[in-house]
């Protein structure tokens, strides 16, 4: 080997080590939380109310609360996001309007989560008088997830081959028919991936729900969308930093962190699965 190559292989080996350290970081975090959390999590933990100042019992209301927020935010953000992406990709040509919408969407994506919290509180909680409620929290989270949904849907629509559209127009189909019968079915799996990923994001966000919905301790289930709820990420924060007995509730915190991590893992697996199935489908064409 020449000196040049020796240097290169040395450098590349160092690079490999550093890249591996990124993998190691993930496994350390996952390993740490999973090994401790798995001891706590059982059926009872998942399905019972917290008790004894949150040092025992379970996280049932927080799980239900997070599910409510996921459902609430997606019901509103998913259709709007998809429609917005359809409009941008299928209707608008490169123009000022398109550039404007894209810039604004990027800006929305760049707004820090705590600012969403401030905004949600000012608009939904105070001005619209929803109070701390599922609807206020869902709207805030939904607006936050919107850019992700728009971006992934746009990518999905772009990956649909133009010849399909042209073929459909050539048969006399209208634009709407073409979108509904040709474009959307082909793009669907990738749109679904976007939905799954944004669910992952929504389920873990804390800052936007701090002042719009999240309850510190509320051992009952919500009865309407105007109730506030507990939520998993906020519950973890409370258990870790501001519970009445932080040391005693540590096992509960591990359990909650474990559940949060599992949600992320499962959603990621699901997204990859959908992606793989979608990949196979397009190959067959």
């Amino acid at each position: 080997m020449t000196g040049k190559q020796l240097k290169q292989s040395l450098v590349f080996n160092i690079f490999r080590l550093i890249s591996l350290s990124v993998v190691a970081i993930l496994f350390v975090i996952l390993g740490f939380i999973v090994t401790r959390g798995i001891k706590v999590v059982n059926w009872e933990f998942l399905t019972s109310m917290p008790k004894d100042q949150m040092t025992h019992g379970g996280i049932y209301p927080a799980i239900i609360g997070t599910l409510c927020l996921i459902a609430g935010s997606m019901v509103f953000a998913f259709p709007i996001g998809v429609m917005s992406a359809i409009y941008m990709n299928e209707y608008l040509k490169e123009s000022f309007l398109k550039k404007f919408i894209r810039t604004m969407t990027n800006n929305l994506a760049g707004i820090p989560s705590i600012v969403f919290g401030l905004f949600g509180m000012a608009l939904f909680v105070n001005t619209m008088k929803f109070g701390d409620s599922i609807i206020a929290g869902s709207l805030t989270l939904g607006l936050m997830a919107l850019p992700v949904i728009i971006r992934t849907t746009e990518e999905a629509l772009k990956s649909v081959d133009d010849s399909l559209r042209i073929g459909s127009y050539a048969l006399g189909a209208t634009r709407l028919q073409t979108i509904r019968r040709v474009v959307l079915p082909v793009a669907f799996p990738n749109i679904l991936t976007g939905l799954i990923l944004s669910i992952g994001r929504v389920s873990g966000e804390t800052a936007p729900i701090l002042f719009t919905v999240a309850a510190y301790f509320l051992p009952k289930l919500p009865s309407s969308i105007f109730d506030s709820v507990m939520a998993l990420p906020y519950h973890l924060y409370v258990l870790t930093t501001s519970g009445t007995n932080v040391t005693e509730s540590r096992p509960m915190a591990y359990g909650t962190a474990f559940v949060l991590i599992m949600i992320v893992l499962i959603l990621n697996l699901l997204a990859n699965l959908v992606r793989r199935i979608a990949g196979k489908k397009t190959k067959m064409n």
Binding site: K4, K7, Q8, F12, R16, S19, S21, V22, V23, I25, L26, I29, F32, P79, I80, G81, M83, S84, Y87, M88, F100, I101, T103, M104, T105, N107, L108, G110, I111, P112, S113, I114, V115, F116, L118, F119, A122, L143, L146, I150, T174, R175, L176, G204, T206, A207, L210, F211, P233, Y234, L236, Y237, T240, T241, R250, A257, V264, L265, N268, N272
Partner: protein
């Protein structure tokens, strides 16, 4: 096309257009609400509601800033000379201290004499400054009420203390929080940048397909882990470790925040830098190799320069993310609102301040507005970063 079809197409188009405007409208509303609440801060002083500040009627001082009031009651300012008055010692008195000077008999039933006693006391004591609830102020009060200066933008941005609970006047100096945010974020980027860039380079240029197949999902997962979980991990693992390693009293430090943020911004940096590196045309790489350049030389001399603007974008976006990150930082940095001097001290960032205090700030009050004003600073910071990214990206070599 028949009329019904055309009608449906038109309606659809309208609905789609409306949807596509939601993001823009949201951005505008965010700006509107932030400013509506935040700007209000500069329209008032920070003395607690229903409190008035009274002095002896001979006192020549005509107005005083909230910060000075706080300093006076903290006894950091002890002479009227320091705030533009006569050379006279200041005697700060709160309502409790005033009441304690009189016997129960003097005060009478239900403190009915307190307001006149206060008036007399103030009229007789040249150096006094008193903070009194307006309910204990006599209707024909003969002392002098000092108007408080409004909080100025300069005072807010450059003030070195953030004490929203100070009595009788809160102090809102955002400077330590701005510095805290920048320190933690820059620390994070210094840690994450080398690791992130090297990983991106390794992934896109050196690693085989197998290693890439491992790294891709790892990075996706890293970016999917919620920020509270990072904060939790930081709090139970990193913080004690830092405390032990550096033999500190508390482990909640800027360093802890920077490390957690560094891990959190790795996925952003790696993904964007990798995309940028991939844009280098294969033809350029091959031309370099065909001239006898090693892979490493090709990387340094051709691929990285070509991807420069994308790499810069990755760095800026990484900082932007770090600046806005809330929960993880809130949990590990200790949240002391002091101007940081080393990475081994607790610091407090803007997002952490908002998250920690908004719940306790009375709706519509000065503190509430001050937190929205912090939100404006944060929004402007991230807006600047985003705009920078856009300009860097569009500027091709």
């Amino acid at each position: 096309m028949n009329p019904l079809k055309r009608f449906i197409e038109k309606i659809t188009r309208g609905v789609l257009f409306t949807s596509s405007m939601v993001t823009s409208v949201t951005v505008l509303l965010v700006v509107l609400f932030l400013f509506k609440e935040g700007i209000g801060l500069f329209n008032q002083n920070s003395v607690e509601k229903h409190l008035v500040i009274a002095v002896n009627s001979e006192n020549p001082v005509s107005a005083i800033s909230s910060t000075d009031v706080k300093s006076i009651f903290n006894q950091d300012i002890t002479n009227w000379k320091q705030v533009g008055g006569k050379d006279l010692e200041i005697l700060p008195r709160s309502i409790d201290e005033l009441a304690a000077q009189f016997t129960e008999e003097q005060l009478g039933e239900g403190f009915k004499n307190l307001s006149s006693l206060i008036e007399t006391y103030i009229l007789e004591t040249p150096g006094v400054i008193a903070s009194i609830p307006d309910s204990y102020l006599k209707n024909d009060f003969k002392g002098k009420l000092i108007p408080l200066k409004k909080i100025s933008l300069k005072e807010f941005l450059t003030g070195t203390e953030w004490i929203p609970t100070a009595h009788p006047a809160a102090v809102f100096g955002a400077w330590p929080l701005i510095l805290g945010t920048l320190w933690v974020s820059l620390g994070a980027i210094l840690l994450a940048l080398p690791i992130g860039l090297i990983t991106a380079i390794y992934m896109s240029e050196v690693a085989g397909q197998r290693f890439r197949n491992i790294l891709k999902p790892v990075i996706e997962l890293l970016s999917g882990i919620p920020s509270v979980v990072y904060g939790f991990f930081g709090l139970v693992v990193l913080v004690p470790l830092i405390q032990k390693l550096f033999k500190l009293g508390v482990g909640e430090t800027a360093l802890a925040g920077s490390i957690v943020l560094a891990i959190m911004s790795l996925p952003t940096i790696i993904t964007i830098a990798e995309d940028a590196l991939r844009t280098t045309p294969r033809a350029l790489k091959e031309a370099s190799l065909a001239l006898g350049a090693s892979h490493w030389q090709t990387l340094v001399r051709v691929i990285i320069p070509y991807a420069k603007s994308g790499i810069i974008a990755a760095v800026i976006l990484g900082i932007g993310r770090a600046v806005g990150e809330t929960m993880a930082v809130l949990m590990v940095t200790g949240n002391a609102s002091v101007i940081p001097h080393t990475f081994l001290e607790p610091v407090r960032t803007i997002p952490a301040t908002i998250a920690a205090e908004l719940g306790e700030a009375p709706f519509g009050g000065t503190h509430f507005k001050a937190l929205f004003a912090l939100g404006i600073i944060l929004f402007i910071m991230t807006f600047v970063f985003n705009t920078l990214v856009e300009t860097v990206k569009t500027k091709k070599i």
